[in-house]
Amino acid sequence: MAKFQDVGKARRRARQARRTYPFTRPQELGSPEVRHFPVVIAGGGPIGLATAVDLARHGIASVVLEKTNTVSDGSRAICWAKRTLEILDRLGTGEQMLAKGITWNQGYVYFGNDPEPLYTFDLLPDKEQKFPAFINLQQYYAEEYLVEKLAACPDSELRWQNEVVGVENGTQGVRVTARTPEGEYRLDCDYLVAADGCRSPVRTMLDLDFEGRVFEDHFLIADVRMKADFPAIRRFWFDPPFNPGRTSLIHKQADDVWRIDFQMGWHVDREEALKEENVDRMVRAFLGPDIDFEYEWVSLYTFQCRRMQHFVHDRVIFAGDSAHLVSPFGARGANGGLQDVDNLAWKLALVLKGKAPPALLASYDAERIQGADENILNSSRSTDFMTPKSEVSLAFRNATLELARDFPFARRFVNPGRLSVPCVLDGSPLNTPDEDRFTDRQRPGAPCIDAPVRVAGKDMWLLKQLGDRFVGLYFADGAAPKDVPGVEVLTVSSGFAANLQDCKGLVAKHFDAKPGTFYLIRPDQHVAARWRRFDPARVGTALARARGGSNALA
């Protein structure tokens, strides 16, 4: 069962050998009783799977309904950003991703037939991080790791070949109809997370739609398996001799698989373009006659930068591609979607446990729309630069590239994709604005930056100590201050006695901390509030605010 039908004529040589998972007859089939789950998740792609794993960490049972019987059959997402790896590390698959993936930090940008790059960039300004700026790994690995992780969560279920075909949304809950090879059945849930991808049937069932732009261009993606000693960097061409007037990209993935990407223009005949001999011609022009390769996946894409107007609709919440779509040049699709998960799971859990008002979920809408808009803006700009829509924009584009040969300033205007960085949730209703003076970097709304720390004499990473609950970081030598209900306070200092020994002084540096500084950190590792002095009353107020205005403490 192929997940994506558009593999085209080269399919005969493309491999699709991921394992399939068995269908298990759900106990609800044929039973008059309608079972109730706190959360049902439509779609078992990376976003749906990660949502289930994250919810399980918060003790919330869920069931994932996945239409097909396998993971992504093409590589699809290959670039996973540092923040994504940090989120996956919290969920327990970050280290697997890192071990299997290809670490890269550098991008080279070429222009025309000049074998020397126009310029190069380095993605990691902060050293001493657990995770690199990016790794490359086929999407199916990311999904397989999450499937395994989910299997180890006793109260969560993943049901293959269960397709969501009906949704009755209400103010009190949702009734979901699922179709299986052996018949249909229904489930009730408090919330339905729609993670059913860009064509989201759930979105259609609710009569909702996307707003935004579709780019009039096609891109041919050929993932090939070959032994090549090309460097593991992102190499991007404007107007290369092997694809004149257009762009191309090559990037290494795990298992000797390489992504090759060709801009094709708007007026292509899909059938023709995907014919094996035509794909061969493109790939050969790039690789030359001597390299042996096999196809792993071939596809032809048009790109869109669009989103839903709102992600939360009563009891149905959209996440990932169902909610927003970007062109892949910033690698912002799955990376953006995993930030949705990170943002949503703890909120949903607090609401379901009655520890926060349902209004907290409105902040998911606000914060992730902000994130989606940032991703859409950056991806649209990159796509506009690569595919100029008018003669004058083409002239500016080419002038920019030519100037970039000679002048550093012009390199900043060259846009071969602005790669995914986490969204700083400036202006979020959950933030408590600064009263004291601090540097901007770890301002309310920013995700925490990782740093090495020592815990009970052992080398660890800061981010592993944060997350899943509200944490107070208290920069002090003395004892932790009196507890604030609902917050676990950790002391940070250069001394051994602290909960977190700031062995390299980097935590204090990143957080612009002085003795007495106190940070309140959300379960998704974003800063909620910070002060120069610890004041339990202020922390309590900020905590209530970060929980959507609730006064109900843990």
Binding site: R381, E391, V392, T400, E402, D406, P408, F409, N415
Partner: protein
């Protein structure tokens, strides 16, 4: 080359500026676009003022087309 010319990045948000510049041309005919560009160049020249720098820019731009 550079004598007088500023070649290090000077625009704070290059992506935003570039996008605005391109948007400015949206819906214009080729003639209108040319005129728009001409006006922008003259305004920028006046803003720069410095004769030597302007001379360098003109020469550089012209010579670069011959490459």
């Amino acid at each position: 080359m550079p004598g007088k010319l500023r070649t290090e990045p000077g625009v704070a948000d290059p992506d935003a500026f570039y996008a605005r510049l391109i948007e400015l041309h949206e819906g214009l005919s080729q003639d209108e676009s040319n005129k728009l560009n001409a006006k922008i160049i003259l305004l920028l020249a006046n803003q720069v003022g410095d004769d030597a720098a302007l001379q360098e820019i003109l020469e550089y731009a012209r010579n670069s087309l011959k490459k």
